[in-house]
């Protein structure tokens, strides 16, 4: 089980994530939602061990991840929000490098790499430099690198960025399958429609704090709203969106 206890992250003195606590059981897929700047990616980065929390702790199976950081990192797969990847390597080279760093046995690694690239329709481009890839292709490489070592925990930060409809559907089904196999999945996204379909439970973050943590159906009943999008709007949107749209329209016509 993955537990976050009173997690706070401050940049300078400004809290980006403020006293966040929740836990995720194996086989559970949690939708982690929030508007831009709510602190979703920062939380995911702390869960990936890339950022240290200012306060609070993250426990994996009851142990603070700081104490078992290397073992913990071996168990996680992470798809970052920004597709930062070495552009001078090919997809094949990149996955081989990641696989080696993850210590996947040599024989299995090559097969896994080639097969994953084939399944993501990257066989033809696998020897080309990533610099020439589209955003969607880079995303496929990142997803492959996150799942190739069969991790126990999957941290997905906007995993469908730039993906075509078919691949997005593949990922949706894959997440469901991995969840059934007992993986812990934290799925952060803006596409509420997909979150609603994949995740039973959602956590909504606003200005660094949790404003809702429940199953989608319970939230619907509780707030008497028909969709997750409307629940999200109710909890996080403070401005009159139509008025802002009108103002933007006026400005571009200047």
């Amino acid at each position: 089980m993955l537990e976050l206890k009173n997690l706070t992250k401050k940049f300078q003195v400004i809290p980006v994530v403020n006293d966040v606590s929740f836990s995720v059981k194996p086989g559970e897929t949690v939708g982690y939602l929030g508007p831009n700047g709510a602190g979703k990616s920062t939380t995911i980065k702390m869960l990936a061990g890339l950022l240290n929390p200012t306060e609070g702790e993250i426990l994996y199976n009851g142990k603070n991840i700081k104490k078992i950081i290397y073992e913990y990192k071996q168990k996680i797969g992470y798809v970052p929000e920004n597709s930062e990847i070495y552009p001078h390597l090919s997809a094949f080279d990149y996955l081989m490098m990641v696989g080696r760093l993850r210590k996947i046995p040599k024989k299995k690694l090559k097969t896994k790499t080639i097969e994953l690239l084939r399944l993501f329709n990257l066989s033809i481009e696998m020897d080309m430099e990533i610099a020439s890839y589209s955003k969607g292709m880079i995303q496929k490489v990142l997803i492959s690198s996150a799942i190739m070592h069969n991790p126990e925990i999957l941290l997905l930060d906007e995993p469908l960025n730039g993906l075509d409809v078919t691949t997005a559907l593949v990922i949706r089904d894959l997440v469901k399958k991995l969840s059934k196999k007992g993986k812990i999945i934290i799925y952060s996204s803006h596409i509420l429609e997909i979150v609603e379909k994949i995740c039973r439970r959602v956590i909504i973050l606003h200005k660094g704090s949790i404003v809702a943590d429940d199953t989608v159906s319970k939230l619907r009943n509780l707030m008497k709203l028909p969709s997750l999008e409307q629940i999200f709007d109710q909890l996080t949107v403070e401005e009159d969106t139509e008025a802002i749209a009108n103002e933007i329209n006026d400005i571009i016509r200047l």
Binding site: G49, H88, R253
Partner: protein, 587 residues
Amino acid sequence: MDFNKIASNRIPNPFLQFNILTIHFFRRLFQNDMVSFEEQMQERVIGILSIIAIFSGMVAYLILAKYLLIPDTGNSWIERCVFITFCMLIMSFVAILEWDIMVPDERDHANLSPLPIKTSTIFLSKFASLCLFVGLFAISINAISTLSFISILPQAKSLGLLSILKYGIAHITTMFLVCLFSFLSNVFFIGILINFVGYKIFRRISLYIRTFFIIVYVLLFLFFLRLLLYGWENLSFLEKFITNQTSIRIIGKYFPPLWFTDLYESLLGNTKIPFHGSSKYVLISMGILIIGFFISTGIQYKNFLKKIDSSKAKNRFLKKVQSILTGAFDTIFLRNAVQCSIYYFYKKTLKSSMFHKMRIASFVALGIGIIPFQLAFNEILPKTLTGINKTMLSIPLIIYSFLLLGLRGVINIPIKLEANWIFQLTEGKNTRHYFLGLKKAILFNNIIPLFIFFYIFYSILWDRITAFNHCIFGLVLAVLIMEILLINYSKIPFACSYLPGKEKMQFLWLFYLIIFIIYINVITQIELILLKNPHIFVTYFLVIFIIILSIRFYQVFQIYNKNKIQYEEVVDPVMIGLDYKTPTHIR
């Protein structure tokens, strides 16, 4: 008010576009793969221009100093010609640093073609930006030197203020044209090369051509310094050449500095020089260069539009052979997965990053530039080139020392810092393998290939056994130097942040130079003894082996086991405090 109507009726102003693009291209000239001024751009540019201005001023003063004592008998054109050559050399060096950024590239095409900009505006603004750039350097080169030229030369001394102004204008005009000619010649050469061999091949050979030119310019520069310090006296062939009227007239047609010297003298009203009339070549060549610039960039632009198909399949047989060889290599030398990963990351980064390659190439070029100095210093004659002496032994030592220093510096520079999260995410407990992978990568990709070349070279000069012994001696020493240079290194190559300037070269260069000279002499002396007594080689290997082993033990127990991989370099404190609060015994 109907905003739509106004927006659709708005026509882009070509003059405004030209201005914006000129500034854009001008700024891009300071952000290339050799020199990056992204941070504190203004300060750095001013710093470099000031250094060039002071240096050129000193050179001008040194050239003209004799006229403070001896009156000019009408031969001061020689000094002008020397200074023109110096300017050309400086500008060519600057052009080499700018290299492929001088012509509009794929990036310009990709960014600018979707915008409503005429192709002619792009070309003209590129040309204008180059002129601005040259102008900036021309001002820098001549800012102080002009004072020497208008005040020291006796002709100028005796004249009034207006005539001094005339001298100044003649000097500045000629020098600007000299700089522009020199810069455009390089641009023209690159343009021809790209169009002749194609952009794809150009990218592959570009590094080698650039390195070649760097070496040539370093050598010419050292030769120039020698001329400045010792004069023509012991270069009798040059003296004869200058005094021979016929030969100088002939060479006047082919040697650009003489064209500009004639232009300079003509502007001053002096027609009594042996190669008078050659200034017409200035106009002709400038015309050719400017037209050539537009034609070659035009063809390049057309070629970009064609889009080269880069997805050509590799030869299957070759791919299979390569795969077998790589597999065998990995099994023998890179058994650990992390080592393997770092090894290939290093290899592929160095292969594809022009920025890193150019940094290393400039280090190696500097080393190669020192060799003729070393040969001249020890008065090596062609006959003794085949002999086993300290100078000949020092050649590989200088080159691989510079190569390793270059590599040590270059691995600090990240290829894409934001992408290093993958290393942070996958970091394992045993960090030792990251550094073993790096050392193996340097050994197999840089050191061993270099020594294979040295072996071939020395086998031609000497007998094979001596050549082999010499190379083995160097190879073992190179490994030791690598170990020493990486002793406290705890980063992943090309993946971690770095803070430049920690070596404090501006203050310590003389100290480093002295140490380097001592080091060269001591090592070559040891090697000379070893080559004369090959049976001592065993002791030598044993000593080196023990030192390397000690370094490895130190690294494992004092560095790798205690420290994590350093992804971010810590900034030195701006002010170092006296730390008076901590008791002395703890400090």
